[in-house]
Amino acid sequence: MLDIYIKYPRKMPKADYLQGSLEILVLKVLRRGSNNGYAIATCIEQTSDEVLRVEEGSLYPALHRMTENGLLKAEWRTTDAGRRARFYELTAKGRKRLEEEEKRWHSVTAAVAKVLRTV
């Protein structure tokens, strides 16, 4: 007879090193103007010289989450090529969040750099 031991069936957090910083990057890209998901990903990848790679599996949930939270606005538009795409745009709340996140990011990276230099 088969025994099945599943004590705590819980969702494990996704291993994704970009999870924390993806949001700030999306906000920053959209700061220049509204854009669609694919363009956002491409922009991040190209600007970082292909160092940062945006997983689609993370990007779209993040975009939807940020829309839910009121950081972004989304609407369907027709691209220059004549295809329908979903375009995202910063809201006032999103702009404010970006400023805060940028500040926080700089202080954290500065702190990390200092530790790396000193120790």
């Binding site: 007879m1 025994d3 599943i6 069936p9 998901g37 689609e56 599996g57 989450r65």
Partner: protein, 905 residues
């Protein structure tokens, strides 16, 4: 994203999925266009449906979506076990229905505000004095009084003329309305025979002041309150419906009230019953109509043209933002100015002043004992609901056990325990709401049945019991609270379930070990049943004590015929002649052996009292000098069967208005003439007796005003000395035939004596006593019904549990029998099991029974709360029912075929 779009997304998940799909398609297309390999791109994308799931899971309203899904699933589950679902819903409906029925009575009688505009701003206006009765200002008071006997006194009513002036001149209240106590009136419509209804005389601003708009027609205007005009009436909506069949042409319809023609001018709105809760008034007439309609108006004229007969109650509506104290003070000053005649100033302490009290529930004639009775019923019916919940909990628990495998699979596949618990709770809530809706229907029927019992055979009075928001909310609340009681048990059981055990086992052996929880529930049920049974037993025995109390005369075959000869316009001399004429006519009816005249019927709820003043003894207006007084004709004691102990009873020669003869009872002698020969002695009544009475006889004690209170000294006077103008009088009849055979001949005799004098009612002494014991009977009947219900529910609970337990132990019993156990051994096994349940239940129930007994202390008559007989009987009944219930599963266990049981394994 707007709230609406989130919501619509939840309700229409398909469209949202489509959007995500489209967005991802665009992404892939772009990638392909940029030179990526389509397949590689798709691989990189991974599981698109998982991505969709995750994107979708962001929805705030996702819980709502899963809730809908759970609800659908729950309904499917309930449909799958229809018998169980029906049993659960019906038991809940019974419990909830009984509860809301009793609650609707409690609410109508004790809690609900008056059905008028802004009842919070209404104040009852009454009077108070510092030193007792307000002297010569008032000779007769109709309404409520408390206190007195030279101490502070409070009364409800003032004279009508004073009221009219006060209402016209006062400026403090937005309006000051006046009204009489409800009065019984004989109303006939068209050629139909007259019926009794409650009539109230009201001021012309009554409806307007209360903010009650007539359903149609008009209410009174100031012109309607004048003497001489034909009486106008506003009728209740209930009266309009039942007596006019809701006809539209009712306005201007002539009706006769006490044989006086009157006209209907309006119909009150539905549910408006007046301002006295429980005394539903069906007809309203202006104050001045009293003179035309009421026979008592003759008394009014006798009592110095109205000012000394105080019968108008008042209610005032406060103006918003004006100080209540100031308003009352101003009005009171005006009242004192109006009420005290300039030439006759009484002592200051006897001048009444006005006081105000909260009027949100109007004048509340529900007595304390009735209120207590209703609360007791609510408590008992609450216990019934607990028993129902225990039963339902056990039923659902058995279902939860049956579904344990399913739950375990869900858990194993990754469902959250919370989600499963929620699933069960949703099913429970669905059941409870279904039970609640059905219960609401049931409650209306039950409440109406109880209501008609309270109103007895009288067609008058009553409460407003229509289902309103309050009853709906109450029913919804108790329905949902039952969920907490019965729904949590299976959910809790479930949350403890071990996935491992459940999946490993098959068949019955995996279920909850020793049925500990179901057993506990049955124990609780038995305990609660014992509590209800003891309460029912105490109330039943108390009623029996009251009903079999020695009242001093033979209550059987005694009939009273109530008449009011004054309503035919007689003068006092004519009334006497009429009474003698009718008495002779009644005595000639075959089947009637004796007839007498009596002013107050014993044990009819009314009694007169006075203070005895014995020459040579100190006099006080206190309880020690208070005696009851009644007046009778010759032959009345013989008719009643009250034995004569000394002297003689009244003779025909005593029946004159000037007679000084008085008959007293033993207790009177004991209190005022101990160790003396009372015959021939003289005494008077009141502080300054104007005449002295001479004792001509002594009779045995009898019950006059109450069954509960201690018997009081009583004196009897010839009825001819106490013919109050306007007040009805009674014939007392000793019959040898049942009352229904005599009613016809009695009416014929009355018509022969004078057809214009209506018979008010014909009642037997036993019916009067039944009416006096209405509260006790209501309590006894309902608690008895609750007791039976509790027993039945507990029996079902016990049988269910034992049947289940036996079914689970089929194998074990089969093995035992195979190893040589006899059928009686098996029966014993099951009986022993149930014995412990019942014993524990009784232990659990005894404190509850004791507690309920304590609560009933003031309701019980000649009975201790811890009455051993009642407790013993309750225990016996409970044990007998439990034994009977256990017998069935025990028999079934004994009939298990060991071979079949073992083969099954």
């Amino acid at each position: 994203m707007s709230l609406w779009s989130r919501f619509s997304r939840t309700l229409r998940p398909g469209r949202h999925t489509q959007e995500i799909e489209e967005e991802l398609q665009y992404h892939l297309a772009m990638k392909e266009q940029d030179g990526y390999d389509a397949r590689a791109a798709r691989v990189r994308f991974g599981n698109t449906s998982l991505l969709k799931e995750e994107t979708r899971a962001q929805g705030v309203f996702v819980w709502f979506e899963s809730l809908l899904r759970d609800l659908r699933y729950g309904l499917r589950q309930l449909r799958r076990t229809p018998t169980l679902t029906l049993v659960v819903v019906f038991s809940l409906a019974l419990g909830i229905g009984a509860n809301s029925a009793i609650f609707s009575l409690v609410d109508a009688a004790l809690l609900k505000p008056l059905p008028v505009r802004n009842p919070q701003s209404l104040r009852l206006i009454e009077w108070s004095t510092a030193e007792g009765w307000p002297g010569d200002l008032c000779h007769m008071h109709t309404g409520d009084t408390t206190g007195g006997a030279n101490g502070p006194m409070r009364g409800s009513s003032i004279a009508p003329r004073i009221y009219r002036q006060l209402a016209a001149e006062q400026r403090g209240f937005a309006s000051l309305i006046g009204f009489s106590d409800p009065d019984k009136a004989a109303v006939s419509i068209g050629s139909r025979a007259a019926e009794q209804f409650q009539l109230e005389y009201v001021s012309t601003n009554f409806f307007e002041g209360l903010g009650v708009l007539p359903r149609f027609g008009r209410s009174f205007s100031s012109r309607d309150d004048r003497a001489g005009a034909p009486p106008l009436v506003v009728i209740s909506e209930r009266f309009w419906r039942s007596r006019f069949g809701s006809r539209g042409d009712v306005l201007g319809h002539p009706i006769r009230i006490n044989n006086v023609p009157a006209q209907v001018i309006g119909v009150a709105p539905p549910g408006f019953f007046g301002v006295q809760i429980g005394e539903w008034v069906d007809l309203y007439a202006p104050l001045s109509a009293l003179n035309a309609i009421s026979p008592r108006a003759k008394l009014d004229r006798l009592l110095n043209e109205a000012d000394t007969w105080w019968w108008v109650r008042q209610m005032g509506r406060l103006k918003p933002g004006v100080s209540e104290r100031q308003t009352v003070q101003q009005t009171s000053a005006l009242f004192q100015h109006l009420v005290v005649p300039p030439n006759n100033r009484p002592v200051p302490g006897k001048i009444p002043q006005l006081i105000a009290s909260q009027g949100v529930r109007g004048f509340d004639p529900i007595g304390n004992d009735k209120a207590r009775a209703l609360w007791i019923l609510l408590l008992l019916v609450g216990l019934i609901l607990l028993i129902v919940c225990a039963n339902v909990a056990n039923l659902l628990l058995s279902r939860a056990v049956a579904r344990q495998r399913e739950s375990a699979v869900c858990l194993a596949l990754g469902a959250g325990r919370f989600r499963l618990v929620r699933q069960y709770l949703i099913e429970s809530i669905t059941l409870a709401l279904a039970g609640g809706v059905l219960g609401l229907l049931l409650s209306h029927v039950l409440a109406e049945a109880i209501h008609s019992f309270i109103r007895a055979d009288l067609n008058i009075g009553g409460f407003d019991l229509h289902v309103d928001a309050r009853i709906l909310i109450y029913t919804a609340l108790i329905s949902l609270s039952t969920v907490l009681l019965f729904g949590l048990a299976p959910a809790w059981q479930l949350s403890r379930a071990s996935v491992n055990d459940a999946l490993k086992a098959h068949g019955r052996t995996f279920a909850i070990g020793r049925l500990r929880f179901p057993r506990a529930l049955v124990v609780v049920q038995i305990g609660l049943s014992l509590t209800v049974l003891v309460a029912a037993g105490l109330l039943g025995r108390s009623l029996a004590n009251l009903a079999t109390l020695d009242i001093g005369f033979d209550r059987n075959n005694l009939i009273y015929v109530s008449i009011n000869p004054w309503s035919a316009g007689y003068q006092e001399q004519q009334v006497r002649q009429y009474l003698e004429r009718l008495r002779a006519g009644l005595a000639a009816i075959p089947g009637i052996s004796r007839v007498g005249v009596i002013q107050e019927r014993p044990l009819s709820g009314g009694a007169n009292s006075t203070w005895v003043n014995i020459p040579g003894q100190a006099f006080h207006e206190d309880d020690a000098h208070t005696v009851l007084i009644n007046s009778t004709s010759d032959g009345a004691f013989e008719t009643l069967g009250i034995p004569l102990l000394a002297g003689r009873t009244f003779q025909a020669g005593d029946m004159s208005p000037k007679s000084d003869a008085v008959i007293v009872d033993e207790l009177f002698i004991h209190r005022f003439y101990a160790h003396q020969d009372p015959l021939g002695r003289q005494f008077g009544t009141g502080p300054k007796p104007t005449e002295l009475y001479r004792i001509i006889g002594v009779v045995k004690n009898s019950r006059y005003n109450s069954l509960r209170e201690a018997i009081q000294p009583t004196m009897y006077r010839p009825y001819t000395t106490a013919l109050w103008p306007g007040f009805g009088i009674n014939f007392v009849i000793r019959a040898v035939l049942p009352v229904r055979q005599l009613a016809g001949p009695i009416r014929q005799a009355a018509a022969a004596a004078d057809p214009s004098v209506p018979i008010v009612e014909i009642k037997t002494q036993t019916a009067l006593i039944d009416h006096l014991l209405l509260t006790e009977r209501l309590l006894s009947i309902l608690s008895g019904a609750f007791g039976v219900l509790a027993l039945l529910l507990s029996a079902i609970g016990l049988i269910g549990l034992l049947v289940y337990a036996v079914a689970r132990r089929t194998n074990e019993i089969g093995v035992r029998m195979a190893l040589g156990a006899s059928q009686s051994d098996v029966v014993q096994l099951v009986l022993k099991d149930s014995f412990w349940l019942v014993a524990l239940g009784i232990c659990a129930g005894l404190p509850g029974a004791y507690f309920v007994g304590r609560l009933l202390k003031h309701t019980l008559f000649h009975l201790q709360p811890a009455d051993p007989w009642t407790a013993g009987l309750s225990l016996f009944i409970l044990a007998a029912v439990a034994a009977l219930s256990a017998w069935l599963p025990a028999r079934r266990a004994a009939q298990i075929d060991p071979m079949a049981a073992l083969r099954e394994e």
